[in-house]
């Protein structure tokens, strides 16, 4: 029997009024309680030149001294260094991964600098996709390593973006949420900063770079997000050192001419960055990564593999054909591999045979040699024997001769003796 859906009262999807308190208003709380039990994870990618303050900013943002050796300027290329930390605040567990781009901007030829970054991002997407395509999968406790936010550190030149910045951001904007920040902003004055920000944003816009916009569709946060969007790129200063200002100790940088306070909003935009990145939009960043960037990657990847989309009610002929083709290809690959392995085996056998033959020949040679030696010895011994025989014969002859001589002259001797 096939299930026949007789009545689908969906056409008149009614809004019913409730006669009392049912209780499903606790649903968000149920969801939250589960997420808190599971724990959260967040992955930040910091892209910027060596020494521009990436590590310091992370330490300042999270109020933690993450590992801190200074990076060298002499890397051969750019490589990505992910580090994962378990943080906790009240009852919330956060698995934070900070990915650093080591060596970025140091090479003389930076044409390929963006590649390791793009590859890393793609690899994390690929890993998730692989998990999703498994037969037995466990997505709910998969450690999500996809990059949720890329903080792009712009050097505080005061003029404009560097060419490398533009090229890199253009390569990344369709793969990850980008928030551009002006690093070491304590070298720029207020008026210079204003012009700098405008220049940067106009360069980004005119080159079609899509940076992350703080979402304004949720009334609860649309106002603050909209106002923050206008302050991009954030000019930040990072510091883990504490300086006494007035009767408080604050994180700051002490100069002969004054103290730059990290958390003073008139000194820099650090507080704005923290507010936006962590306290208001962290969840949205995770959502955008999953719903937009990952989906784009997945779609491109599947299309590459030859899958096409189908209507729900049309027979997917093309899909079946595609599948058949892929299957044939796969079987072909398999057969080739089999052939290869067989060939390899045959070769190996031949090799070993040859080796065996070689050894046999060696043994044979040795045997021959031994035989010759043996012959040689035998000959020598034979010679010696003959010599010895000769000697013996000679000796015997002499003996016989001597005997015969002594026989013919024995009386004489006696006579001599008797006289």
């Amino acid at each position: 029997m096939v299930a026949v859906v007789i009545g689908d009262h969906n056409e008149e999807k009614r809004n019913l009024s409730l006669g009392g308190h049912v209780g499903f208003d606790s649903l968000p709380d149920q969801l939250v309680s589960k997420s808190v039990t599971q724990g959260f994870c967040f992955n930040i990618l910091c892209v910027g030149e060596t020494g521009i303050g990436k590590s310091t900013l992370m330490n300042t943002l999270f109020n933690t001294m993450f590992e801190n050796e200074e990076a060298s300027h002499y890397q051969n290329g750019v490589y990505l260094r992910p580090r994962t930390y378990d943080l906790q605040e009240s009852n919330v567990h956060l698995k934070l991964t900070i990915v650093d781009t080591v060596g970025f901007g140091d090479q003389i030829n930076k044409e390929d600098s963006y590649k390791p970054i793009v590859d890393y991002i793609d690899t994390q997407f690929e890993n998730y996709l692989q998990e999703e395509l498994k037969i037995k999968r466990s997505l709910f406790n998969y450690h999500d390593t996809r990059i949720h936010i890329c903080l792009y550190f712009i050097a505080p030149t005061g003029h404009s973006l560097k060419s490398l910045d533009l090229v890199t951001m253009k390569k990344l904007d369709s793969k990850v949420n980008i928030i551009p920040i002006i690093a070491k902003a304590d070298t720029i004055s207020k008026s210079e900063l204003h012009k700098f920000k405008i220049k940067i944003m106009s360069e980004l816009v005119s080159n079609g770079v899509q940076i992350y916009q703080f979402p304004t569709d949720d009334e609860a946060v649309s106002e603050i997000n909209a106002s923050m969007n206008a302050h991009l790129p954030f000019a930040v200063v990072g510091s883990v050192e504490e300086v006494k200002v007035g009767n408080k100790t604050v994180r700051a940088r002490q100069y002969p001419w004054g103290v730059v306070q990290v958390e003073n909003e008139s000194h820099c935009d650090f507080v704005k960055l923290r507010e936006m990145l962590i306290r208001v939009n962290m969840e949205d960043l995770r959502e955008q990564t999953h719903a937009r960037h990952y989906e784009l990657y997945r779609r491109c990847k599947l299309e590459e593999m030859g899958f096409k989309d189908t209507d729900p009610d049309s027979q997917p002929f093309s899909l079946q054909e595609t599948y058949e083709a892929k299957r044939k290809e796969f079987l072909g690959d398999l057969q080739r591999k089999e052939e290869e392995m067989r060939q390899m085996f045959v070769n190996k056998v031949k090799e070993t045979e040859a080796e065996l033959k070689e050894k046999e020949r060696e043994l044979h040679d040795k045997f021959e040699q031994l035989k010759r030696m043996h012959q040689e010895e035998k000959r020598k011994v034979e010679e010696k024997r003959r010599d010895l025989e000769e000697e013996m014969n000679a000796f015997n002859r002499k003996k016989v001769a001597a005997e015969t001589l002594s026989l013919s002259q024995p009386l004489k001797k006696d006579k001599d003796k008797k006289k």
Binding site: L18, F24, D25, K134, D218, R279, K308
Partner: protein
């Protein structure tokens, strides 16, 4: 300590905010013979009337009745939280004279929703996937018998690995407290005996307080819930409550000493609704998906053509037969390798 505060402790609030904006959805199936009070219970649970103008069949019409599946979808809202609630009715179940495999339309329906979701999830454009999977099935056991009947056992066994089953004792106002206890014990025994896997409440966190743990324990020992529903409001003890008026007294639906309705409502809606969805997604659906893929791969290996349209197959996993072949060849190679190694060793020894 304000200085140390980073701020990611607000993440739960962010999640809360976003979930309220997005809204929720839930699909509840009710199954059991006619007249068990299913519709009344649904109305009582959600304090509304979903079943206006429905037609009830008489006995004659039911002799050869087939099981139908009827969906009602409503949008309800409470304190800013929106819920798209779908109730799936199964009229005709167990009503015919011959009820052989009367659960098949129901299992087919559940499987169809899984298949639809699988197809959507495997598509290229996944922006607006609708989740029509059945998150929970309330199964109504008649109170008139001595425990589970064969049709109850067969139904639950056919469905227990596809959907979260919550068995209920229907129309419990015809049983005295002792009778209810006996029946519950009997049913629990039989569920164990027949190996039926009903929905298990998750263990409560170890860091909950003792009172909560005690309540949780009581809740678990109270299953299957004995419920009463009512579409009418009566006056009892000076208040207007949902209840049933009898000459001998008034049965109040929400009176915990009269029945387990409140326990059911609290569990189903107020505390475990989300868990029911999670178990459906993470367990029942995943099992279906894994099975589906394996069936597909083995079928494709046998015959070259397939009748039914297939959703996108993940090609990163080669079919079972090819895998076996690869494994066999691997082992062959290994053995040959070992033989070669042995020969080489022997030669080595001969040398020395």
């Amino acid at each position: 300590n304000e200085k140390q505060y980073v701020g990611f402790a607000t993440l739960p609030n962010q999640v809360h905010r976003k979930s309220v904006k997005k809204g929720f959805d839930f699909t509840l199936m009710v199954a059991g013979e006619s007249g068990m009070g299913k519709s009344t219970l649904v109305n009582s649970l959600f304090l509304t009337d979903l079943y206006k103008d429905r037609k009830l069949l008489n006995a004659e019409e039911r002799i050869n009745q087939t099981v139908e599946i009827i969906k009602h979808t409503v949008d309800i809202e409470e304190k800013g939280v929106k819920l798209k609630l779908t109730i799936v009715d199964t009229p005709g179940f167990g009503d015919a004279v011959n009820n052989n495999e009367c659960w098949k339309p129901i299992t087919d329906y559940i499987d169809q929703q899984f298949e639809q979701y699988f197809r959507d999830e495997s598509g290229l454009n996944r922006k607006n996937i609708q989740d029509n999977r059945v998150h929970c099935c309330l199964y109504f056991i008649p109170p008139f018998g001595h425990g589970l009947r064969p049709v109850d056992v067969e139904f639950m066994k056919a469905l227990h690995e596809k959907v979260n089953i919550i068995p209920l004792i229907a129309k419990a106002d015809c049983l005295t407290p002792n009778e209810i206890k006996k029946l519950k014990d009997r049913i629990r025994e039989e569920i164990d005996k027949f190996g039926i896997k009903v929905y298990q409440f998750p263990e409560c966190d170890s860091d909950e307080d003792e009172e909560f743990k005690q309540l949780d324990k009581e809740l678990k020992e109270c299953t299957p819930f004995a419920v009463i529903g009512s579409n009418t409001v009566v006056e009892a003890r000076g208040q207007r409550v949902r209840g049933r008026l009898y000459p001998w007294g008034i049965v109040e639906v929400e009176n915990q000493s009269h029945c387990d309705f409140v326990k059911l409502r609290n569990m189903l809606i107020r505390s475990h609704m989300h868990d029911l969805k999670d178990v459906t997604c993470d367990v029942h659906y995943e099992n279906y998906r894994a099975q589906c893929i394996q069936e597909m791969t083995s079928k494709l290996a046998q015959d070259n053509r397939m009748e039914s349209p297939i959703p996108i197959l993940p090609l990163s996993t080669p079919d079972v037969d090819t895998e076996k072949l690869i494994k066999m060849k691997d082992e062959e190679l290994k053995r040959m390798q070992e033989m070669l190694n042995k020969m080489q060793q022997q030669m080595h020894e001969k040398d020395q």
